[in-house]
């Protein structure tokens, strides 16, 4: 079931280096969103830009009836969003899409997020912990100030996530992929390999992590992003090439098993 909620903005603040968190009062979506799903948002005051914008659900709070989304200021729309004040209303269709589908008996999971890709992967920590899995998270960002999800990951994990920054201002210097390879190798060497890898971030990162996971024989899922119009599966704008033909990122995804994706 999809809802189209007229959702008052409760909070809209910069969390670090052009990355913002917005909290929406959207009780139906908050009550039903699954990890990895997204909302398709119509932003007020930019009617000349006729399309909605998709944002992964960073956190859903069913009791409060709220959801958080994370956005990075990249173009007209996201810049305009930074000027919205609490009390203004957006319209959000959601929860949309196929979320993360870790294997039923998942015991040990590796989550990898690059930049704002940390948002849709964050709720998966709680889901995996609840089913008793051991979870390792790796976060990559351009710089320390852009590691905005680190604290929330730490709270959900009960320990610090592994971090890297491109400029070396926090954690490992450089891209996060060496951390991923080391984690896979160490787990394999310990005799307790990962049985699930999930990755969301820039497409080159996802492609590389998918190939590392596949090389280690670990089932991997990735969350893909495409230019999107309707966001409900009708218009066929956002298709992804898969081994099973073209699939819609909005409703057949955004999460796909990495082996199905034709990169």
């Amino acid at each position: 079931m999809l809802y189209n909620e007229k959702a008052p903005i409760l909070f809209n603040e910069e969390a670090g280096r052009g990355i913002w968190i917005m909290t929406l009062d959207a009780p139906e979506i908050a009550a039903t969103a699954l990890p990895g799903q997204f909302v398709h948002v119509r932003i007020p005051g930019m009617e000349g830009h006729i399309l909605r914008r998709p944002f992964g659900v960073y956190a859903a709070f069913p009791e409060e009836g709220t959801i958080d989304i994370m956005y990075q200021v990249l173009g007209f729309g996201t810049d305009h969003m930074t000027h919205l004040e609490p009390g203004e209303r957006v319209e959000a269709i959601g929860p949309v899409g196929r979320g993360w589908q870790p294997p039923a008996g998942c015991k040990k999971a590796l989550l990898v997020a690059g930049g704002v890709g940390s948002a849709p992967i964050h709720p998966l920590v709680g889901q995996l912990k609840a089913q008793g899995a051991e979870v390792t998270a790796i976060l990559g960002a351009q710089t320390a100030e852009a590691l905005v999800a680190r604290q929330r990951f730490a709270e959900a994990l009960g320990c610090e996530p592994l971090c890297s920054t491109d400029d070396g201002t926090f954690g490992r210097a450089g891209f996060c992929t060496p951390l991923v390879q080391e984690a896979l190798d160490e787990a394999a060497a310990s005799g307790q390999p990962f049985d699930y890898v999930a990755c969301c971030g820039p497409e080159p990162l996802m492609k590389l992590v998918a190939s590392m996971a596949e090389g280690a024989g670990v089932f991997c899922e990735v969350s893909l992003e495409r230019r999107m119009a309707c966001g409900v599966g009708a218009c066929l704008s956002c298709v992804v090439d898969t081994v099973n033909g073209k699939k819609r990122a909005c409703v057949d995804g955004p999460v796909f098993p990495s082996k199905e994706v034709v990169w």
Binding site: M1, L2, Y3, N4, R42, E47, G48, H49, I50, L51, R52, E91, I93, R226, R227, M228, A229, C230, G231, V232, G233, A234, C235, L236, S237, C238, V239, V240, G245, K246, V251
Partner: protein, 310 residues
């Protein structure tokens, strides 16, 4: 909850070349699937008709991505008529629409004259109220717009489709021609029961930063509020040039937009790109038509058709 239009004493029923519509609002083909994707938002059976996504005989893969680009008050698309083929429509979507009591108009596409006929023949036993013959898609290499730009090919494809069915045959026209009235008259002469227009305008967008086109196929179809003046002008021209009814579309997002098209000569209207921003746009447009009629004392929506004073 799925929205329905509000109750009214205004007569909203119109007849589009033999297609009985409970109100004058359908959807632009390709913007609404066959309605399933929108059924959480609107009661698709409450629409005048559901015009389904263009269907070919054996299904097409469509074009490479990116397939869309947002432009000022509009968008470009280059989907390329991706569809799973007529058998899927017949087995899945049409029975679903029939069970709901919805009125289905099937948009028929083909790469060749014979393919249009084969699609119609495959659907003659299916619950279809009318066909919309798509000779206007700008995003495929064969068929589509190439067929709709010249009088001889328009006469041929419409004549062949006409011979294949007794059902209402609506022919969808491209605006990418020198004189749309010439094409409209050719379709009418070949047996069309109605004309729908406009399909998208051929357009293009460039990313200066990357020096690349924003669409993988370079060019695509332009739609949305920006094209409304062009669409209105063409609906008005065509309605004055033929005696068969016109289904008007191009940038319609509100009841007022719909009324403007009806005044210009449209018997019915289609809501297309507006569905993307607003999933209840169809019912909002119907409600807006009711509001207008009640406010201006219009008892029958048919009074508005071609009532433009000029």
């Amino acid at each position: 909850m799925a929205r329905k239009p509000r109750a009214t004493s205004v007569n909203l029923a119109v007849n589009l070349g033999g297609l009985a519509m409970k109100n004058p609002v359908t959807v632009g083909s390709g913007t609404f699937g066959a309605g399933m994707e929108y059924s959480d938002f609107v009661d698709v059976a409450s629409l005048g008709a559901v015009t389904t996504k263009g269907v070919s005989l054996n299904g097409w893969e469509g074009n490479a991505t990116p397939r869309i680009a947002e432009t000022a008050s509009g968008m470009l698309n280059s989907i390329g008529l991706q569809n799973p083929g007529v058998a899927h429509l017949k087995e899945v979507e049409l029975p679903w629409l029939a069970d709901l009591g919805a009125t289905a108009m099937v948009n028929v596409s083909g790469h060749s004259f014979d393919e249009y006929v084969a699609v119609i023949e495959a659907l003659e036993e299916a619950p279809v109220a009318a066909y919309e013959v798509n000779i206007s898609c700008p995003n495929v290499d064969a068929g589509g717009m190439t067929m709709g730009c010249h009088v001889p090919s328009v006469e041929k494809v419409v004549g062949m489709c006409r011979a294949a069915t007794k059902r209402p045959l609506i022919v969808k026209l491209t605006p990418n021609v020198t004189d749309i009235t010439e094409i409209a008259r050719a379709a009418e002469a070949a047996g069309a029961d109605g004309l729908s227009l406009i399909n998208t305008l051929l357009g293009m967008a460039v990313d200066a930063r990357t020096r690349r086109p924003k669409l993988a196929r370079v060019v695509g179809g332009y739609s949305g509020p920006a094209v409304k003046p062009v669409a209105l002008r063409m609906v008005w021209q065509v309605a004055n040039a033929v005696s068969i009814p016109v289904l008007g579309m191009g940038g319609i997002a509100s009841g007022t937009d719909a009324i403007e098209f009806m005044l210009a000569g449209a018997t019915a209207v289609a809501v297309g790109t507006a569905n993307f921003a607003n999933p209840t746009a169809t019912v909002d447009v119907i409600d807006g038509i009711i509001d207008y009629c009640e406010q201006y004392g219009v008892k029958d929506v048919n009074e508005l058709i071609g009532a433009l004073e000029c």
